[in-house]
């Protein structure tokens, strides 16, 4: 139990340690805020989305094909909930080229969540997704025209199958003013079912008329949701870890300085009979209180930041009722870690003084004896330096631990900024490498879900297409996971791969080669067929394996002569897209792909900007803290120089020279560390559809360096002001060190 006097000393000491404790509180506030915010979002998003998926009966399996009531009945007989429905896209031929996807409502599967209004009851009524309503300025009671029919919007809704606006596998995040989803009654359609949505496990049973069956884990909508969760999760544990290493280092140095400054007082307390335990209590209680305040402030900031980030996220994915929630375990965990971090740092720092006997602790630390520095041996140079420069150099190398503590702080800040900006650059680089270096097509035309038969007369013959290659793009299973395989025509050059190798086997992305630990010439089991790897290529987006129809026929006996995709280049994209729209043919231009990628990356961008913001605050706090450390360590010396008649300007010049030397060492080291961190974590943000390509652009190095130099300059100005305000008489009397 801490005694009254110990508590009093602790509280009073907090008052005299305010600048250091403020630095500590700010460091922990930022770190804890980052940690709790990201984990709250991960926990809350998963919890809310899973409940939404469960409550609104998101289908476990969707069968695509041509079905009738018998097919549905056959499935129901296997004890599952099965509903037939019709889904059809309609292009608005107006200026916006808006695509309306009409989906027939079912009673038990993929139930819409209604924000406002009621379910449609007649064939001239519909529900509209909230994001579309907002983007198109449509309200309940307004009219929309779909496929030549005019419908009244009876309600605004959301749906678990449209958490993300997935138009198709290429346009995974459509813009809500370009692609809209309406729910209608089955009578709206004049055609039969083209989908059966199922809840439950029907085993291997596949109803007649099925072309493709996709389980929930393979829905693009669900994959995007899980990927976002995983990315936010990676952010949540990787960056707070990096932050906490830097924070721990700075806190340790800061506490060590504070404790060393009190060395004589600690010696006195020991001399007067105070036990080491009580002295530890005095110091640790200060640091732990500051840690708790920092953690609580960080937690409080989370309440605002979480909602802000969720608001931004809501533009990318829609989960009704997603909002901030209090997770005691996170707050408690953050507080415990913060307190432990400070307590352990403080304890380590105290162990430098506590083992001393009072007689030793009460004496100032014996200064290290002056020794010749390396440069002094180069007399030719040394003699030509001014006294001030020689003083700055000798001082720098006299107290190496303080010098390197400051360098460490500068280096850590620079590394954090370099890495954060570099992470953003990496996303841009990844995008550029795909669209400028890998993709050679202008447009991809889709015939999903029903593929076209090669021999069929309805092959596309459009004059605006300059070059084209047909392909069958399909999901395949390798080692129990789903991947995309494109079986192309011979000579396929719509992406940058060694086309000649298509005839000899399967070309796989580098990421898959590392994942499966395979090399060229190895064999791969694809859907039970054995294929040879003919080449490995760098790919960063939409990772796809490629082979030719000719090679595929050699390993698959009954490969159907069908295609579902045309990769094309055209000199007149405007005319080509107009024709495709008129013919109600689905397509995605390379510009659409680029926009879609931007949308997918939006959630990561939000996190990256949040991280950059935290890095900047954290970096500046670190610099402020190391500035304080430097200042407190040098105060006596500056005072003494003043006593000896040195002018303020000359004292400051010596300080600036030392600071410059520290910057010269810290900034390049910071660049290097930033690169190493980026390289080490890039794997955590790569998956089967996206591989990050690490890059730090020159402007990021410049920005990071300028930020560090700028804050150091501000701290130098503070130091200058402080030196001016030093009371040399009182200062010399009351030296604690």
């Amino acid at each position: 139990m801490i005694s009254k006097i110990s508590l009093l000393i602790a509280v009073r000491k907090m008052r005299s340690h305010i600048p250091q404790l403020l630095g500590l509180i700010l460091l922990l506030t930022v770190g804890v805020c980052f940690f709790i915010t990201l984990f709250t979002i991960v926990f809350r998003y998963e919890e809310t989305a899973e409940k939404y998926i469960s409550d609104y009966d998101y289908a476990d399996v969707t069968f695509y094909g041509r079905f009738n009531d018998e097919s549905v009945k056959a499935l129901r007989e296997r004890g599952v909930i099965a509903e037939g429905r019709t889904v059809q896209d309609f292009r608005d031929l107006g200026e916006n080229a808006l695509i309306f996807r009409a989906v027939s409502l079912t009673n038990n599967v993929n139930i819409p969540y209604i924000y406002e209004g009621v379910l449609p009851e007649n064939s001239d009524e519909c529900l509209l997704l909230k994001r579309n309503a907002a983007a198109l300025g449509i309200a309940v009671g307004d009219m929309v025209t779909i496929g030549g029919k005019t419908l009244t919007v009876t309600g605004i809704s959301a749906s678990p199958e449209y958490i993300y606006m997935v138009q198709n596998e290429r346009i995974m995040m459509a813009q809500p003013d370009c692609f809209a989803v309406v729910y209608v009654v089955p009578d709206f359609f004049e055609m039969g079912y083209n989908e059966i949505v199922v809840i439950g496990d029907a085993g291997d049973f596949v109803p007649d008329g099925t072309f493709q069956a996709i389980t929930r884990s393979d829905y693009t909508n669900y994959i995007l949701y899980r990927n976002d969760l995983s990315e936010i999760g990676s952010f949540a544990y990787i960056f707070p870890t990096i932050f906490s290493v830097l924070i721990a280092a700075v806190i340790y140095v800061m506490l060590l300085r504070s404790i060393q400054k009190d060395r004589r007082q600690i010696g006195t307390m020991k001399a007067l009979g105070m036990s080491d335990g009580k002295i530890i209590g005095i110091y640790l209680s200060q640091f732990c209180i500051a840690a708790l305040i920092g953690a609580l402030l960080g937690g409080a900031a989370t309440i605002f930041i979480c909602d802000l980030i969720i608001d931004i996220f809501s533009a990318m994915f829609e989960v009704p009722t997603l909002s901030f929630a209090f997770y005691p375990i996170l707050w408690f965990g953050a507080m415990v870690v913060s307190v432990l971090l400070c307590a352990i740092s403080g304890l380590i720092a105290l162990t430098r003084i506590l083992p001393l006997l009072p007689a030793h602790a009460m004496r100032p630390r014996i200064p290290k004896s002056g020794r010749k520095i390396l440069l002094e041996h180069a007399e030719f140079i040394w003699k030509r330096l001014t006294f001030n420069t020689r003083y700055a150099l000798k001082n720098t190398l006299r107290n190496k631990s303080r010098f390197f503590a400051v360098v460490l702080g500068m280096c850590g800040s620079c590394a954090l900024l370099t890495f954060s900006l570099g992470f953003y650059n990496s996303i841009t680089r990844t995008q550029d490498e795909y669209f400028d270096g890998f993709a050679n097509y202008d447009i991809i035309i889709n015939f999903e879900p029903i593929p076209h038969i090669f021999e069929n007369a309805e092959q596309l013959e459009i004059s605006q297409i300059d070059e084209s290659f047909k392909a069958l793009v399909m999901p395949v299973k390798i080692l129990d996971d789903n991947y995309i395989l494109a079986i192309t025509e011979e000579g396929f050059d719509m992406v940058n791969i060694p086309a000649a190798e298509l005839q000899n086997g399967v070309i796989i992305p580098e990421y898959f080669a590392k994942l499966w630990k395979v090399k060229v010439g190895d064999k791969l089991d694809i859907n039970g067929y054995t294929a040879v790897i003919s080449a490995i290529t760098p790919q960063h987006l939409g990772l796809t394996m490629y082979t030719s129809f000719d090679y595929a026929k050699t390993i698959i006996d009954e490969l159907p002569p069908v295609y579902n995709t045309i990769y094309a280049r055209s000199g007149d994209m405007a005319a080509l897209t107009e024709i495709l729209i008129k013919n109600n043919i689905d397509f995605a231009t390379i510009a659409d792909d680029n926009t879609s990628f931007d949308s997918i990356m939006e959630s990561m961008s939000v996190l990256i900007w949040f991280m950059i913001f935290c890095s900047v605050v954290l970096g500046f706090t670190v610099l402020y803290s190391v500035g304080l450390i430097n200042l407190s360590a040098r105060e006596y010396e500056y005072m003494f120089m003043g006593v000896m008649g040195e002018s303020h300007r000359r004292i400051l010049t010596a300080h600036v020279k030392e600071t410059l030397l520290q910057l010269v060492i810290a900034v390049p080291l910071g660049f290097l560390s930033g690169n190493l961190i980026l390289d080490a974590i890039k794997g955590e943000f790569s998956n089967s559809s996206f591989v990050i390509s690490a890059a730090i652009f020159p402007q990021s190095y410049v920005a990071a360096a300028l930020a560090v130099i700028g804050v150091t300059a501000v701290m130098t100005a503070v130091t200058s002001r402080h030196i001016k305000g030093l009371d040399i008489v009182e200062g010399l009397k009351g030296r604690d060190e």
């Binding site: 009254k4 009073r12 006195t268 007067l272 009979g273």
Partner: protein, 219 residues
């Protein structure tokens, strides 16, 4: 009756060429209840001897008996307990805790000894500082700070008062007043006072004077 019995006490610092012998084979018998002055020039080993007697430092060899207990066999915990129970310290540079008021500085000592605020106030009163109890050290003169330091030392009624050049940082008059105060405490509270100084004039008020030179007792 002996307060401390010192036999063959040696204290060295450093090793090899840097080795310094601060006390060399010192043997002494210090009587209880007296005002003892240890005289010596700077570097004679007097502060080192005081540190050994107050369990602030450990001897390299030899023994210091306090009654029947050899202080040199104490572990750190025992050394702390001994200082807390039997010793009151008065330092040359006062060593008050700057974050505490005069009263709180004295309470620091009384609380460790399990005494109340009343004893702390009484100690401050006895050194003539009852009007300055709520002042911080920075608001007190050197003489006042030294009196607070003495109040802190005597508040817990220690058996021994160890004073390390208590007048070293004070002017002549204030120094005399402090010596008077210590002498008075020794008489009225029956506390043994052991004072080290380089000032021969202070030796005039002592019951016992011991002179050290180069780590050895010369008189």
């Amino acid at each position: 009756m002996s307060l401390f019995t010192i036999s063959n006490l040696t204290k060295t610092y450093g090793e090899g060429h840097a080795k310094v012998v601060a006390l060399n084979n010192v043997s002494l018998d210090l009587p209880e209840g007296k005002f003892i002055v240890i005289l010596g020039a700077s570097g004679s080993g007097k502060s080192t001897l005081l540190n050994m007697l107050g369990c602030m430092d450990r001897a390299t060899s030899g023994s210091i008996y306090f009654g029947k207990t050899d202080l040199n066999t104490f572990n750190k915990r025992q050394m702390t307990a001994f200082r807390g129970e039997y010793i009151g310290f008065v330092f040359q540079s006062y060593n008050l805790l700057p974050d505490l008021t005069a009263l709180e500085n004295v309470e620091f000592s009384t609380e460790l000894a399990g005494l109340s605020r009343k004893e702390a106030l009484s100690a401050l009163n006895s050194v003539g500082l009852s009007e300055r109890v709520n002042h911080y050290p920075a608001e007190l003169s050197g003489g006042e700070q030294q009196r607070v330091s003495i109040a802190r030392a005597i508040a817990k009624n220690p058996k021994v008062l160890l004073c390390d050049e208590p007048t070293g940082a004070l002017d002549f008059n204030t120094g005399n007043m402090i010596i008077e105060l210590l002498k008075n405490i020794q008489k009225t509270q029956n506390t043994s006072v052991l004072l080290i100084t380089h000032n021969r004039e202070i030796a005039d008020v002592a019951d016992v004077v011991i002179t050290l030179r180069s780590g050895e007792v010369v008189q």
